[in-house]
């Protein structure tokens, strides 16, 4: 499942929705990314997250399908927020559901790596009197 949304999410609830569908799931690896107070040595006030929504859904679906194939995942959930996000707020969640733990770890890492590289989202960080667009490094 791919969700691109403005609103906050609850990790327990989101994982439960998927987990409840499969008694064969023994392992769930989850990554959650947050807005940090300091980035590149600058005090961050908040950030604006822009998305090319229709393309992000397409691109994340492709990345997800590749991960499911490659790591024999039972299912997979990606939530990415956009809009104004303040310090300590969640930005992204990726959860990979598998029988055994290694697949869930590898699947989640794979998705995060490609999401950072290819998913059309852009962060603009705001400081005291300035702002700047970020660029992911590999």
């Amino acid at each position: 499942m791919i969700k691109i949304q403005k609103k906050e999410f609850n990790i327990e609830k989101e994982i439960k929705i998927i987990k409840d569908q499969y008694s064969s799931v023994g392992a769930v690896n989850t990554f959650v990314g947050y807005v940090r107070d300091i980035n590149n040595n600058r005090d961050v006030k908040f950030l604006d997250l822009e998305v090319y929504k229709e393309m992000a859904i397409k691109e994340l679906s492709k990345i997800k399908d590749n991960a499911v194939d490659k790591w024999s995942l039972i299912d997979c959930l990606i939530i990415h927020r956009y809009g104004r996000l303040h310090i300590n707020e969640k930005i992204v969640l990726v959860a990979c559901f598998s029988e055994h733990r290694n697949d869930s770890f590898e699947g989640c890492k794979f998705i995060m790596d490609y999401l950072k590289k290819d998913a059309p989202f852009w962060k603009k960080e705001f400081y005291n009197e300035e702002s700047s667009w970020l660029q992911n490094t590999s």
């Binding site: 393309m55 930005i91 998913a119 852009w122 992911n136």
Partner: protein, 81 residues
């Protein structure tokens, strides 16, 4: 033909999107030339090859053909996650 701009590209174009109604570029390279003319401040970025292009929400890496009904997106390196 709809052209969409994202992130700091919008700071240069001063708009999110626009329509090209005539003299359609036939491929991405022709579109790049048009953009250089329309937005001189964009030229150095287009020349430096850091921008990414998508046709109908699919990345294109080569000089692909484009049709008058396509939606073309132009954007800088991503920073999601």
């Amino acid at each position: 033909m709809k052209i969409k701009y994202f992130a700091w590209i919008k700071d240069i174009t001063k708009k999110d999107y626009e329509f090209i109604e005539k003299d359609f570029p036939r491929n991405i390279n022709e579109l790049k030339k048009n953009l250089n003319t329309m937005y001189p401040d964009l030229e150095k970025h287009i020349m430096s090859d850091i921008l990414r292009f998508a046709i109908n929400k699919e990345y294109v890496s080569e000089n692909s053909e484009i049709k008058s009904t396509d939606e073309i997106a132009i954007f800088p390196p991503v920073s999601g996650g």
